[in-house]
Symmetry: C2
Subunit: 377 residues, 2 copies
């Protein structure tokens, strides 16, 4: 396939795969897609190792990096906010609620050790430092979620000749991003896993394309709910330049997800993927569990704290929950959850990432052939 | 185009247009689509007039009828429930809240006169009586929303050789409908106007198709957010048999919508279409207005009553609101709302229904050509 986005990214099949797992990123790029490593949790040191690992396994095939620099965060404007300093801002009420919730399911809440200078979750400067290091590697895309990227990020992309992408959940966000100078938009519908807005992929993709066209003709990737090549073809029939995917890679053998979460994904229907503030403080789609229920509608819920505080609560909690569940505590399973989109309803087995890319290509071709047959008859 | 659904309905382009307005139904069927008249508000007498009017204007082209027989309604099991008897069940608190809300915007709440034997809104027997009369006309489809159609409705379809369709918002509903014997499923995503579930069209369509296939190969129409032939092509690329549309017809010259609501639709973005219980007591997508805000999140909201009680409240209220707005009360405009999907963000002008059908056909062909060009390059 030849298209502007394929030229920009140096690929032939515009299937982008977001994953926190280097194995998935490398496997997708090797198979002809484009892996994008979620780098939010990394430091400049750890990202260096990850990208070296990927370089050793991608035979020069292109891949990219994704960071998460929120425009709106409760610590905005504060300097050098550390993880430890934020821990003191979590009210006893929130701590107790979390501890009691876990206790009810036989899980003891333990606090994760962090170093004194560990930056806050989603720290902008840390993300920029991670990006800076990454340009030593042959990355072909940098992407940002949760707002317009800082000017330094856009400038970095320009300097290194690497396109800058941004995730958007509404037409209004898309227009702001184009004005700020991003090169690629990812129009992500409400059905997507992780942070998401309220507009569906079916509506958002044409709405964003239509809105930005008179301003600047930026390629728009479709995201949200896309688990198959047929859905990718659907989005491209509406004018999308390609697909940005996430959830589908969680059910691959390479992915970072726990065995228990995989089993839950396979059992889930699309209605089990709920939009909740319970994990990060901003609405993010994840598998419904007693955790999301307790925060969203528990009668004694203190309400989620704003980002980044809720992420500190949930990191401690899920370290405890996942450890207990893996150790065989069956009650802990009821708490287990992770980010996943409504597309979870289409997951029924675990495959290799390479096989998923291959299936996307075949399904895409089948969809085009199906459309041609309809037109001919 | 030739396909099982085209054969079933006697059409060549599987674009179904739901409308409460006979003008739209006739215009769409004449233009080569398939109009479906929303008959919920009709009596056997008024439907007879409507269908005669349509027959006189469709040159024998096929059309259908849609009713709304809720499986879950607060009056279930009661016999001969009249509109008047339900009025007494509305609490003074709900009446006062409604009256005060309207008053705040300069609108006096007046009660609509109904006859003593006027049946309750969404009365099942009335819907069946309406259908019975309709078979005197050459209708080619009967459809039901809000649950599995009663056995009498499915039997009526069988007896007259007319396929029975049902709207579904989840895989679980689809499986129940197929077991009950419906002939066509309408998989309607959360982005749709009117009553809707939570799963998006992009996910629901393939999820429903996949779920029912091992049971019975029923054609699945896609609904929710579809405003253009490109989106219709997208849905069919995912395996949908065609498109079921609603909101797009509200912005046609033929439609029943008020001038004020049209202006609001054109000004709206997709995020302005909210899912609210404020109109009927069940979640239904409609344009956000001070009415939906007040019921959904007003600090003094008494909460929407269950169906059919909330419909009685809102009928009186919107008769008063629409009359006041039309008479030039500018404050009343803030209250005006009507059912519409997220696709409202794609509406930017008012066209004739025939022109919309023609555009769908052209956009559909363009989308297929676009896909072929991508594959060739």
């Amino acid at each position: 396939m030849k298209s502007p986005i394929c030229d920009m990214l140096g690929i032939e099949f515009p299937l982008l795969a977001f994953s926190h797992c280097r194995d998935v990123v490398a496997a997708v790029s090797r198979a002809g897609g484009f892996g994008v490593l979620g780098a939010t949790a990394h430091s400049p040191e750890t990202i260096e190792q990850e990208l070296k690992w990927i370089d050793d396994r991608t035979d020069g095939k292109p891949y990219g990096l994704d960071v998460l620099i929120p425009e709106n965060i409760s610590t905005a404007g504060e300097k050098d906010v550390t993880w430890k300093s934020l821990e003191a801002r979590i009210s006893p009420q929130h701590r107790d609620f979390t501890r009691n919730l876990l206790k009810k399911y036989g899980v003891e809440l333990t606090t994760t050790n962090v170093t004194d200078n560990q930056p806050q979750p989603f720290d902008a400067q840390r993300a920029l430092d991670v990006l800076e290091v990454s340009f030593r590697h042959p990355i072909k895309l940098i992407a940002n979620a949760l707002g317009v990227p800082p000017k330094q990020m856009i400038d970095m992309g320009r300097k290194h000749g690497v396109p800058v992408a941004a995730l958007v959940g509404s037409k209004e966000h898309a227009l702001r991003q184009v004005a700020a100078g991003v090169d690629i938009l990812v129009a992500q519908g409400t059905e997507a896993g992780g942070h998401c807005g309220e507009v569906s992929t079916m509506v958002l993709v044409p709405e964003v394309i239509k809105a930005i066209k008179p301003v600047r003709d930026v390629p728009v990737l479709a995201a949200g709910g896309i688990m198959t090549g047929k859905q990718m073809a659907a989005c491209m029939a509406m004018g999308a330049a390609g697909a940005w995917t996430g959830s589908v890679w969680l059910a691959t053998v390479e992915s970072e997800t726990t065995e228990i979460f995989r089993e839950k994904m396979i059992a889930a229907s699309s209605r089990d993927a709920v939009r909740s503030k319970g994990r990060t403080g901003k609405p993010a789609r994840q598998l419904r569990s007693v955790w999301t229920d307790a925060w969203d509608r528990g009668p004694d819920s203190p309400g989620a704290l704003p980002m980044p505080l809720q992420s500190i609560i949930s990191r401690d909690a899920f370290n405890s929950i996942d450890r207990a569940a893996a150790a065989g505590n069956v009650q802990a399973r009821d708490l287990v959850t992770y980010f996943v989109g409504q597309g979870v309803g289409l997951i029924d087995s675990v495959k290799s990432a390479g096989a998923v890319v291959q299936e996307f290509k075949e399904d895409f071709a089948d969809a085009v052939e199906h459309m041609n047959m309809l037109m001919e008859e």
